[in-house]
């Protein structure tokens, strides 16, 4: 699913490019969220189960993906993942190593 070109999306893209200048010009993709960790995980950690579903449903994930080339000619996918709130606020980003 390709992200729509809303003003909010443009804002997210600007924020991501500020953190990752090499992602300039990359169109993000809205990806499907998977299931949160199972209740058994929280039990193992002696932590109360958070309201993961509510959190998940209030966030979107946009993925910026780009094929890059190393100095010896190898190519690989560089991935930046942006977690965005329903209100369009950039919550956090992660990048592939």
């Amino acid at each position: 699913m390709t992200a729509t070109k809303t003003p909010r999306m443009e804002q997210i893209k600007r924020q991501v490019v500020k953190l990752y200048p090499d992602m300039a010009g990359v169109e993000p993709t809205l990806v499907t969220r998977q299931k949160p960790a199972s209740p058994a995980v929280y039990k193992k950690l002696d932590l109360p189960q958070p309201h993961s579903v509510a959190i998940e449903q209030s966030q979107y994930i946009y993925v910026f993906k780009k094929t890059v080339q190393t100095a010896d000619g190898a190519s690989f996918q560089r991935i930046v993942r942006a977690v965005v709130s329903k209100e369009g606020k950039l919550i956090r980003t992660t990048t592939s190593k």
Partner: protein, 392 residues
């Protein structure tokens, strides 16, 4: 107790009868070294492992998962060594039998790579291939967990991986390293090395500084595989890498903007003293050893040259640009525990638990890449190894 696990059938098939006998003798030598280890290395505080490490010497058991004689004392039957789930079930039963005899293992050592005792192929929590195309996560969490919930492990576990070559030298060398790690070692100065892609220097510095001992982080660029000085590695006891890795390449790469220089190669490990060194790498596929050998894997090259352990990821790993996140945090916690002389298996176990708790506190949940991080980081080396006393 340390439980040493392997497959007799697979070792014999790969290395022949002579090779198997040499490996078996070396594993028995490791058992002797464990029993004579006088180092006191009690983990501070509560551990999640059921067994308590005795003050002097660590008893051990050598188990071939597919050998009836080996399992007879525990009234257990051999399992198919190609089936990770069957091995995991056997391990659970074995642990319960030993616990009933008040011999619960506190360390688990797998001897052999994927074709001896296979990794668990776990579903990638990031199942959307448009984002992350690792079809499965190669993980030892299946063996390190007592139940079917593999994200958070409960056992201190390590593995001695072998390459694809039918020559047992690599595995014998790692067993020699493990044996040496349980012999009396003089206090040594703790030298460290930190090496990061320049683009990640900010989070990398936050990971490295607690262990750096005043040394500065090297970055690539400007460093490359050509300018990197082997002397930086020579005698260093804690090595931290935060570079790019590719599944099918032996190199690690730096980054600044669109520039991805060659930063580190297996050859750089040759001819330097890395004996007893703890290596931690955040690189994607840094611990991917399937189908590789020391010339094509930095992890295997370090282990062949005597590094005590290698922590790395079998799959694509993640981090953050400004603050430590995902792989950065896991490695940070691991290195801090290692620096405090926790055995490396305990260090990884506690690092994973700390990481999971931290992410839940900060984000309210363990999301997909957190779960993947917890699954994909594996420890190569004897889990009961710990750094000797240090002089800074």
């Amino acid at each position: 107790m340390e439980l040493i696990l392997s497959s007799k059938q697979h070792l014999q098939a790969k290395y022949g009868h002579e090779g198997f006998l040499a490996l078996h003798a070396k594993m028995e030598e490791l058992q002797a070294a464990l029993s004579q280890d006088e180092s006191l290395c009690r983990p501070p505080g509560k551990t999640t492992t059921p067994g308590a490490r005795p003050e002097k010497g660590l008893p051990s058991a050598l188990i071939y998962v597919d050998d009836a004689n080996s399992l007879a004392p525990y009234r257990l039957r051999p399992v198919n060594p190609a089936q990770p789930q069957a091995i995991k079930t056997l391990l659970d039963r074995l642990e319960r039998r030993l616990a009933a005899k008040k011999q619960a293992p506190c360390y688990f050592l797998i001897v052999g790579g994927d074709d001896i005792i296979p990794f668990h192929r776990l579903p990638n929590p990031i199942a959307d291939a448009t984002w992350d195309d690792d079809r499965a996560v190669y993980s030892d969490n299946g063996y390190a967990s007592r139940d079917k919930e593999y994200v958070v492990p409960e056992r201190a576990l390590g593995r001695l991986p072998d390459g694809q070559s039918p020559d047992p030298t690599l595995l014998l060398a790692q067993l020699d390293t493990a044996i040496a790690g349980h012999k009396k070692r003089a206090a040594a100065a703790l030298r460290t090395l930190g090496y990061s892609a320049r683009i990640w220097r900010t989070p990398a510095n936050k990971v490295y500084q607690p262990i750096a001992g005043g040394r500065r982080l090297h970055t690539s660029p400007p460093q490359t595989v050509v300018s990197f000085k082997r002397a930086w590695l020579d005698g260093a006891r804690l090595l931290y890498f935060n570079l790019h890795g590719l599944v099918d390449k032996e190199m690690w790469y730096g980054q600044e903007g669109e520039d991805y220089p060659l930063a580190f190669s297996p050859n750089l490990v040759d001819g330097v003293n890395v004996r007893g060194t703890v290596v931690a790498s955040e690189a994607c596929y840094g611990a991917h050893t399937i189908g590789k050998d020391p010339p094509t894997s930095i992890a295997l090259r370090f282990l062949r040259c005597g590094a005590a352990c290698f922590l790395g990821s079998t799959c694509r790993s993640y981090g953050q640009p400004k603050e430590p996140g995902e792989a950065d945090l896991l490695v940070l916690y691991f290195l801090q525990y290692v620096l405090h002389r926790l055995p490396v298996g305990d260090a990884l176990l506690k690092a994973k638990i700390d990481y999971a708790k931290r992410q839940i506190r900060h984000q309210g949940l363990l999301d997909e890449d957190d779960q993947k991080t917890l699954l994909e980081f594996v420890l190569y080396g004897d889990p009961s190894f710990c750094l000797p006393d240090q002089r800074r």
